[in-house]
């Protein structure tokens, strides 16, 4: 049964979803690209921000978007501290990628258990007055919560792009990523630049976490599910590529959505991850990495 409304609905829902994957993925891509640090705890910070949004809403009636005023600075600062006392030491290891994965895996477990201790493993859901509202385009609908999540994602990715391409520090981050030794010779303080990049990555995880929480229920272990999408988006988009991550997110969302219209649902993940394998075989550096 191929029905135009179902196809359009699936495509639109998928695109909005993909935008959110992209925001969650962009910081992951940044720390992987700049520092060669694969931050397994990235999505756990997203969950932390989702909890801040949840409790802000539940206890004080704050709109989840307002909670970002708290969570983004908090997570940025946490990123700086973590970099200073943990990540920086790992970047001296011979096998940075492996060492960073082990370290941040441990960090994810600590964070998950801390959240379990604080808030129990109960499922949480962000329910605002507009959670189930929708805009109608004929028979096709746009969920307001997904639109907000998508808007937040585009703003977040745009902000990171602006920072990387139009600010002095951002350019230093890119220089460090592209040629660390050359950047050091130019007098760029590598540690400081990496620290800022890591802080930014963690802060973006927070924004991504809030955007995800508009669409999905969450509990502390949910970061393990979210992590799957992070890898998918970053590998398809190309490590370190902001635009690549954004486009890959949208693509993956679109494919996921459209697969729902054309394929039996149980084949969606098979199709999606099969596609990832093909991409890795043809272009192992990612679709958008030059």
């Amino acid at each position: 049964m191929w029905n135009l409304v179902v196809i359009l609905q699936s495509a639109l829902s998928g695109l909005l979803l993909g935008g959110v994957f992209a925001l969650l993925g962009v910081g992951f891509s940044l720390s992987w690209g700049v520092m060669k640090v694969i931050n397994i705890s990235h999505a756990a910070f997203g969950i932390l921000a989702a909890y801040i949004a949840y409790w802000g809403l539940t206890l004080y009636g704050w709109d989840p978007m307002l909670s970002l005023l708290v969570s983004i600075p908090l997570l940025f600062f946490s990123g700086l501290v973590l970099h200073r006392f943990l990540i920086q030491k790992v970047t001296r290891a011979r096998e940075i990628v492996v060492a960073s994965m082990i370290l941040t895996f441990g960090l994810a477990i600590v964070l998950e258990n801390a959240m379990l201790f604080a808030w129990a493993p109960d499922e949480r859901l962000i329910t605002t007055a507009y959670s189930s509202r929708a805009l109608f385009l004929g028979e096709v609908i746009l969920k307001v919560s997904n639109l907000i999540g998508f808007g937040l994602s585009m703003a977040g990715i745009g902000g990171i792009y602006f920072f990387l391409y139009h600010t002095h520090t951002g350019k230093a981050v890119r220089a460090t990523w592209q040629d660390p030794e050359g950047a050091a010779l130019q007098g760029i303080p590598l540690n400081r630049v990496s620290m800022i990049a890591f802080g930014l990555a963690i802060a973006s995880a927070g924004a991504g976490g809030v955007a995800m929480a508009y669409m999905y229920s969450f509990n502390p272990p949910a970061h393990n599910h979210w992590l799957i999408f992070l890898f998918l988006v970053v590998i398809v988009g190309g490590v370190g590529s902001v635009i690549g991550t954004a486009v890959a997110g949208l693509m993956i969302g679109l494919i996921t959505g459209l697969s729902g219209a054309f394929l039996p649902f149980q084949w969606i993940n098979v199709f999606l991850f099969g596609l990832l394998m093909v991409i890795l075989l043809i272009k192992p550096e990612g679709l958008f990495r030059k």
Binding site: M1, S13, G14, L17, R124, S131, M215, Y216, S217, A222
Partner: protein, 397 residues
């Protein structure tokens, strides 16, 4: 006079001494060890901890009344970290190292399924929820579901009730979306049979893998095909997504049935009014009119500040009630005697009165529930009804 006073005091001393002696004897009785594992950390820990609380409350109550067969009970509950393989290792440890007298039922179904053959190997009675019909169809003779959690029976109550709805008001076209795992698949038996019996045409029957990324396409299909009965056979996260998609897409079937997610407290707490009118099933509910449920409600409210006792708190208690009645009925801890007693006698639990067949299962039953104004109400069977059903489901506001 003096003589009678002396006699009185002698009597007092004798009585006091005999009390002390009796008390010492009871205290000195070797406790009955009851052991096993639960998921106290990891994915299933939220539920596992409620089973543990049910077990502990039962033990506390039993010990307060002098124990079983005059001996106190002592629980040995290991944490299997939500890993079925670990559950098997730990039950072996409980049997061979701790030399427990009785086994504790585990959670979830995957752990029970893995432990049931171990219980059979050691010929020890194992009372648990089991792992759906497949686990009870392996020829085990020492495993009992009291109550069991049977996906295959899940919607029995719904279809039994639906038969009482006038034929022209019943739904005609069903959409079924099922999580692609053993729990989801086990629900299908009762759906297919019930739809066939009532002449409901199944227009969509699809499975999805967890985690579900989006439910919009599913619900868009269901709406376009004008289905008026929705089976969302999933857990909480996918159930919530499906329900929100229903509301956003303004899809209004006559009834929505949600598999597992809607009978947990989070459903009403997190979804609010949007979670209303969803039907589901359960093997225990605190409003069931069986003795003991009032006590469970009281404890849940006073001790755990839970207005509605969590499902698995009741399950844990009911499994232990079964074990207790077997021991007291057989007047022995001999496992084969316990098994044979359970096979021949009826047990009375807070979930119902059960007689077991050769599989270790009671007669097929599942209570139909509906969320009404934020409360999970009992709809079927009629003698247990706590609220009139709301049908057809009111349109989304």
């Amino acid at each position: 006079m003096k003589r009678s006073t002396e006699g009185f005091w002698t009597l007092v001393v004798i009585v006091a001494l005999s009390w002390i002696q009796a008390g010492t004897a009871l205290a000195a009785e070797k406790p009955i060890l009851i052991g096993g594992s639960l998921p106290l950390t990891g994915t299933f820990s939220a539920t596992g901890k409620w089973v543990e609380k049910g077990y502990q409350f039962w033990a506390e109550e039993v010990n307060g009344k002098g124990g079983i067969l005059g001996r106190p009970v002592k629980l040995i509950i290991y944490d299997d970290k939500s890993d079925a393989k670990e559950a098997v290792n730990l039950i072996e440890k409980a049997i061979t190292v701790d030399k427990v007298d009785l086994l504790l039922g585990g959670y979830p179904g995957t752990a029970c399924t893995a432990v049931m053959p171990v219980a059979e190997k050691y010929k020890m009675v194992y009372v648990s929820m089991g792992g759906h019909m497949k686990s009870f169809s392996q020829g085990y003779t020492y495993s009992f579901g009291s109550p069991p959690l049977m996906g295959e029976w899940w919607y029995l109550g719904f279809f039994q009730w639906m038969k009482t709805v006038p034929a022209d008001q019943r739904p005609k076209r069903a959409a079924i979306f099922t999580m692609n795992n053993p729990i989801g698949v086990s629900l299908m038996d009762s759906v297919y049979k019930g739809c066939k019996d009532l002449g409901i045409e199944i227009l969509i029957d699809e499975k999805y893998n967890l985690p579900l990324t989006t439910a919009d396409a599913m619900i868009a299909k269901a709406k376009q095909m004008k289905t008026d009965l929705l089976f969302a056979n999933g857990m909480f996260p996918d159930g919530v997504m499906t329900l929100r998609a229903c509301k956003s897409l303004d899809y209004n079937p006559k009834a929505i049935l949600q598999g597992i997610g809607s009978v947990i407290p989070e459903w009403t707490r997190e979804l609010g009014k949007d979670g209303d009118y969803v039907f589901s099933g359960t093997s225990w509910h605190y409003k069931l009119k069986y003795p003991g449920n009032d006590k469970i409600v009281k404890v849940a409210r006073e001790r755990f500040k839970e207005e509605e006792p969590p499902l698995y708190f009741g399950f844990g208690y009911a499994w232990m009630q079964t074990l207790q009645q077997a021991v007291e009925g057989a007047k022995s801890l001999d496992q084969t005697k316990l098994r044979d007693w359970l096979r021949k006698n009826e047990v009375k639990t807070i979930a119902g009165n059960f007689q077991f067949d050769e599989k270790g299962l009671p007669k097929p039953f599942v209570y139909l529930t509906q969320v009404i104004r934020g409360t999970v109400e009992l709809i079927w069977p009629p003698e247990m009804r706590s609220h009139e059903p709301v049908y057809p489901k009111p349109p989304w506001k």
